[in-house]
């Protein structure tokens, strides 16, 4: 996965971080303070394989992430990982879905242009004949109050 560069961004004012993901991959990400509000009534839908590699995205996913569909398919879902998200949140996600249970959580996602958007995410394992074959994730508009709580809580989880 490519590192982000200032040319990708919608603003010259950004914070640089190096993220290390669960598979050991490192990525330099550049985050701005520009928020894209979740549009009313929309849902972001995606499906990944067992390794979290994106297999399917809907139009809202493309619009909100700032990537094209071609740029997203085949990439790990952590292409959206924002440096403000504590890794513990995602460890909990994987632990839950691998037990064949549904996971819910509030997530700050990183856009291609360095901006961000908050979502209320649900991830479920797709179980066929007793085996998990993929994961489906649906993101919807979050409650502003819940987002405010997460903005206080998440920095304490690093």
């Amino acid at each position: 996965m490519q590192d982000m560069t200032p040319q990708d961004l919608a603003s010259d004012d950004f914070q640089e971080s190096v993220l290390t993901f669960h598979d050991g991959t490192k990525r330099t990400v550049l985050a701005t303070e520009i928020e894209t509000k979740f549009p009313d009534g929309c849902l972001i839908v995606s499906q990944t394989d067992l390794d979290g590699v994106i297999k399917h995205v809907n139009k809202s996913f493309v619009t909100m992430s700032g990537f094209t569909e071609d740029e997203l398919i085949g990439q790990p879902h952590y292409i959206l990982r924002h440096p403000d998200m504590p890794p513990a949140a995602f460890a909990g996600l994987w632990e839950t879905v691998q037990k064949k249970e549904k996971w819910h959580g509030y997530v700050k996602n990183l856009r291609k242009d360095g901006g961000y958007y908050w979502v209320y995410a649900t991830v479920i394992p797709n179980v066929r004949n007793g085996e998990i074959v993929s994961y489906t994730s649906v993101r919807r508009k979050p409650s502003a109050n819940k987002v405010a709580e997460c903005m206080k809580l998440y920095p304490t989880l690093f």
């Binding site: 009313d40 929309c42 809202s60 649906v138 979050p142």
Partner: protein, 249 residues
């Protein structure tokens, strides 16, 4: 003995003759006797499904999980050019213009149509309104939902977006959409029971080529579809998984 087909009770009432005409065409096309048995509501439908008295069903997405996973129905086809979207309506003269301004103990008029109610409740989440917070008034149809809102008995109402679009101008002068879903992934589907297994292929072939003759094209117009598209188990499972992610518990 003829096979029994039913249509999910949330079909638009003015399309009822379209379904009977479709059935006449289908019987001739696949050379099978099929009787349409309409049900009045989702409770009656659930009972018919449980009794095993249905061979073919045009099903609401929320019923597909039970039909496929518990009753071994097979997805045959889905309509092209139509999706299930919901709208939350409010009185025209209300000063509330966004979900976040609704009171926490909101009173909702709703029908028993499961996907509309699921989407409606999801659209209330950003306002921190959960199913436990709301009082509901169950209505027999969408026009009654609008009436409850107009009379002030309910603060808001949940409707299928298509149903709102087709309200008369008189009704639309008295209620307005507060928020409309733009999900684009939920849809009805035609499914067949295991008892219909050996005829599924010819049924699917007939449906996906229906638009190839003038009669078929007219039938589609009467059902307000562009065409039927083949649907397989994977797609049905994806739909079931989506509905699962949308449930509010």
């Amino acid at each position: 003995m003829p096979y029994t087909m039913t249509i999910s009770p949330d079909f638009k009432p003015d399309l009822i003759s379209g379904w009977y005409i479709f059935n006449t065409w289908l019987q001739k096309k696949i050379d099978e006797k099929i009787h349409i048995e309409m049900v009045n509501d989702f409770k009656e439908l659930a009972s018919a499904i449980d009794k095993g008295s249905i061979d073919l069903i045009y099903a609401n997405p929320c019923d597909i999980a039970k039909l496929v996973r518990e009753k071994s129905f097979t997805p045959i086809a889905k309509p092209v050019g139509t999706h299930d979207e919901a709208v939350i309506i409010i009185k025209q003269d209300s000063t509330i213009s966004e979900i976040e301004s609704l009171p926490g103990n909101v009173k909702i008029a709703m029908t028993d149509v499961p996907n509309v109610n699921t989407i409606g409740l999801i659209m209330l989440e950003p306002a921190d309104i959960t199913p436990a917070d709301v009082e509901t008034i169950t209505c027999s149809n969408y026009i009654t939902v609008a009436k409850e809102v107009i009379r002030g008995k309910a603060d808001i109402g949940f409707l299928l977006a298509d149903a709102f679009d087709e309200f008369s101008s008189l009704v639309k002068k008295q209620v307005k959409p507060l928020i409309t879903s733009k999900i684009h992934v939920l849809h009805h589907a035609l499914l067949a029971s295991p008892g219909f297994a050996d005829k599924q292929k010819k049924l699917q072939d007939a449906l996906i080529t229906i638009q190839n003759d003038a009669t078929g094209a007219d039938i589609l117009k009467n059902l307000e579809f562009q065409s039927w598209e083949a649907m397989d188990n994977d797609e049905a499972e994806f739909l079931i998984d989506l509905i699962d992610t949308l449930s509010t518990n």
